[in-house]
Symmetry: C2
Subunit: 197 residues, 2 copies
Amino acid sequence: MKVYIEPIGKLINEFSKLPGVGAKTAQRFAYKVVNMSKEDAKSFADAIMSVKNNVHYCKICGNFSEGDICDVCKNRQSDVICVVKEPKDVIAIEKLNEFNGTYHVLHGTISPMDGIGPNDINIKGLLERISNGGVTEVIMATNPDVEGEATAMYITGLIKPLGIKVTRIAHGIPVGTDLEYADEVSLARAFVDRKTL
Amino acid sequence: MKVYIEPIGKLINEFSKLPGVGAKTAQRFAYKVVNMSKEDAKSFADAIMSVKNNVHYCKICGNFSEGDICDVCKNRQSDVICVVKEPKDVIAIEKLNEFNGTYHVLHGTISPMDGIGPNDINIKGLLERISNGGVTEVIMATNPDVEGEATAMYITGLIKPLGIKVTRIAHGIPVGTDLEYADEVSLARAFVDRKTL
């Protein structure tokens, strides 16, 4: 005899596709839905479909957007473009309330191992924006991993000859960490990128 | 400026209603849905609605059921009824493949603190099933907490005078636990409920 009746088994299966959710957690989530009111379940299901139907990518920068153009591109005029790997990186930076420029989302990083070359990510769009003029600085904010560094280097090679300032976000030991506990790579980077006081 | 566009913010909000899911996890789940194919998202949303539309409670025992009568009641003839608090307890027991009797789900336990009295849980249904005859043993498998114990005692008081055997599942130290690490209450129970070898 099967343990779960079909609708519950199916929902557990769906929940277990979420990142970090195992069988036990998926089961807890499914029970929670079973005990929800019909309205709550409907608004949950609607929210899922709404994300698929209403989240698009900005035609200018590639960020999440409800319409053709995202809120950042609509509301900001800036000569600084921050280049990131994914739309969620934009959200992470926006949360800081520190950066007032615009973004460019690559939707990936160059990764020959995975067969992703420079033409598979949105570099063309960035070059077009630069060629339209008005850009004085491009900040490379890709992740500090091999692919992120390689992509930053590649794009720098394309943009620098155009006479535009290209910068890279700083890597080093995180604020609040004891030297003793910092990972070796970050500590080494902190020495290489040391600055004059 | 708001950080999330509306559909994503809404979905994060929905996910964070799930048990044990905080803001960061809800955000990860939402990103996962954004990156799902439209078909996958639809089957996820459908699974949620299907649980609300197709999961009913068995008219006999109160277990989860797709129709009027659950699979257990449909397929098993037994003179033993196992009384549990919630439908998910049935699933936990069914997974063992040890128990071959039928169930009775109370949908709660007596809890005066929360204003739940004997008439608020499905005791009447149990008494009806017993009065129909054919029941020789009732196993009280409510949780080993104050409410579960009180409920087991209350129901025992109603059924025992009818000449039916009433048993309680054993409590003691879990299998595989060192005595040293067992919690005191369980260890004390293990002594009280010790059995002759």
